[in-house]
Amino acid sequence: MSFLKGLRCRECAREYPKEAIYVCEYCFGSLEAAYDYDGIKQVLTREKIEKGPKSLWRYRELLPIDGEPTAGFYSGFTPLVKADRLAREWGVRELYIKDDSVCHPTWSFKDRVVAVALSRARELGFDTVACASTGNLANSVSANAAWAGFKRYIFIPANLERAKIIGSLVYAPNLVAVSGNYDEVNRLCSEIASKYAWGFVNINLRAYYAEGSKTLGFEIAEQLGWRAPRHVVAPAASGSLITKIWKAFQEFEKLGILKEKLNTSIHCAQPEGCSPIADAIVSKSDTIRPVKPETIAKSLAIGNPADGYYAKDVVMQSGGFAAKATDDEIREGIKLLACTEGIFTETAGGVTVACAKKLIEQGRIPRDESLVLAITGNGLKTQEAIQNAVGEAVRIEPNLSSFEEAVMKRPGVKV
């Protein structure tokens, strides 16, 4: 049973069939999946979701496919960690980490969107899938397409972190490293997409792909006992994730699945070297000015964010705010999350932690209100960013006296 009615322009609301199209022919607005919510309301209950698979497919009715899923059977349903140690450090009452650094199979929230995009790509008859990526999406499309048996073309900026390159190559895709930044890769890919009949997950499959991010919001609400938190801090690259977390909470409210009235503020976290959305929010500007990114948070280095306007609107409408983190603050954020909660996140997660800290200190997030941080990727992928900021191992000879000399007699060590 499919509840996917079609696609609708987010700007002018014109309706389109549910095909591999992504932009309104009349106003160039992006298209979004439209559902039969009355039909969904008749079948979807908290109990039904709880009995579903322990993956993002437990929310199948609210995802844009017609038949049964064919990819990402183990993606999503990541831990919501009660972060009491970090909460104590910051002096806040109720803090959680939504930990997508352990999403299956490639350790970032992109496994959610790819599960949906590839299931839809199969339904639409594609045999080849492709993407433009800052790294995490590249890893996820490479892995999931290998498993699902698609031919795969992956386009990345040439200067990506080594682990993100190896983490794609191991799945034997056609990996194309473009001399240029992500925005240039994106432009090239949209020209390639109009020439080759491939399923580009973030171009012509975008309307389906983007919906996968909602599952992060659904899970947060379910794991909090069918309640949305008072605050969420999420990182922004294109801005899509922020809009979809918000959409998830709104859909749950509309369907009567939340136990309390929705009262959530979504806050935007960006690196200082690439902050077009945060700048527009902080300066209350109507326009989002594209920038040339320069930041260690390469997964957030999108200078011309496609969903920037929508993300800004969600943040303003929900009573949220935005903050920016410098490269040093990003490194400190990564180390703080590791040392308090034992979670090693990538640079984007460092941005989220650093920005949350600022928003708390500024009073934008009151210390007695519940807060969830969206930690979207794994630190093993961006080791270059912190390799000079975490010290070195103590080197010793393999004998007891060397150990005691070098380790136990250091100043401050008490036995």
């Binding site: 949209s190 973030n202 594209p290 040339k292 964010p305 496609a306």
Partner: protein, 91 residues
């Protein structure tokens, strides 16, 4: 000034199905007006009611976003290549 313009899929119907057209224009503004003259209906797709390029339309001159140049006033010269690209999602 003869300029090569790459037309995105959603607009190709208006341009006789062509993915690329040649246009005489001295600036981006002039190019938008000339496209409208040659292919009626094109400009209202690309520009809002005040004549400004819509916020979801990206125009590139020789691979550089015109928002980093002089926007609609960006001058064109012979042999320039212009791409019109809808905004696409991040990754």
């Amino acid at each position: 000034m003869a300029v090569k313009v790459r037309i995105p899929t959603p607009l190709q119907k208006l341009a006789e199905g062509k993915g690329e057209v040649s246009v005489q224009a001295s600036s981006i503004q002039d190019l938008l007006d000339t496209l409208e003259k040659n292919y009626p209906g094109m400009k209202e797709r690309l520009c809002d009611s005040t004549g400004k390029v819509r916020r979801f339309v990206n125009i590139y001159l020789n691979e550089e976003d015109i928002r980093f140049l002089s926007k609609e006033e960006t001058p064109l010269k012979d042999g320039d290549e212009v791409s019109i690209v809808p905004a696409i999602a991040g990754g």
